[in-house]
Amino acid sequence: MTPLHHYLIFSALLFSIGLAGALTRRNAILVLIGVEMMLNAANLNFIAFWRYSAHPEALTGVMFVIFSIGIAAAEAAVGLALIIAIYRHYKTTSLEKVDSLKG
């Protein structure tokens, strides 16, 4: 049996990896991947807390994760579309070079 705090530690590590990536990498796509990873780490917390809760039949955690996955898919689609649009304009995906508001 795996205790609850192992899942929490694991999700904290995953979150920090995503955070580190999002902070350090310059490529917009990688930043997006980092954000997705943080989101997933949070989802794992929801599931873990649901599983270890006293009243799992309420399905709250599961429901939250289902909605979260749905929204993450939308977020990824819009985010990547934005990245592609930016790339068309600036010919780069490096966030450091995309620094002017005026085209």
Binding site: T2, S16, T24
Partner: protein, 199 residues
């Protein structure tokens, strides 16, 4: 502590680190896939079957493919110049990440209110989830549906190529060729008494 948990956690964290640190973006994206799949395995371990399958379906089947497409569509971003590990942004980023994870882990380890026992496996059948979605969560469901539609349309509009831009390049390419060969047609005159036949 479970062997399967250690294996999955190790694989997931390892691929997550690889995804965030490899130079080739396609490799990063493929490592992300492993991370997502590992998380799905975690969900399955936690008896959340439906969420696990949804995770694979959405993240592996859709988001990962989207990311790969984005990588290919933004070509010269594929190879990043090697940035030095010692550059200030790296140090700051990693410091922030370590401090965040340290805080959370400290809190988790020190916490006494966390459940220490695993309750019996809950019944999270698809039917129950469906019922919940149609009763308690019907409003969020509608909102998510709306959001997804809006996001889809928005993504299509954002990513659509500028019409003028495309027409310019297209016509340039085509007029560069032998279209002008059609000058005055020389005529061939032959007796052509024609006759119609249905085919």
């Amino acid at each position: 502590m479970n062997v399967a948990f250690i294996l999955i956690a190790g694989l997931t964290l390892g691929s997550a680190i690889a995804a965030m640190s490899l130079r080739n973006l396609v490799h990063c994206a493929l490592c992300t896939v492993i991370t997502f799949a590992g998380l799905a395995a975690m969900y399955l371990q936690l008896n959340a079957q439906f969420v696990g399958f949804a995770q694979i379906l959405v993240y592996v089947g859709a988001v990962a493919i989207l990311i790969l497409f984005a990588v290919l569509l933004t070509r010269n971003s594929e190879n990043q110049p090697n940035t030095l590990l010692a550059s200030p942004s790296w140090i700051i980023g990693i410091l922030v990440a370590i401090s965040v994870s340290g805080t959370i882990i400290y809190a988790v380890v020190k916490s006494t209110r966390l459940a220490q026992t695993l309750p019996p496996a809950p019944e999270a059948t698809v039917q129950k989830i469906g019922e919940q979605l149609m009763t308690n969560y019907v409003l969020p469901l509608e909102i998510v549906a709306l959001l997804l539609t809006a996001a889809m349309i928005g993504a299509v509009i954002i990513a659509m190529r500028d019409k003028n831009e495309k027409e310019d390049s297209g016509s340039k390419m085509i007029t560069g060729n032998a279209r002008e060969r059609v000058s005055q047609p020389s005529t061939i005159h032959h007796p052509s008494s024609s006759q119609k036949t249905t085919r």
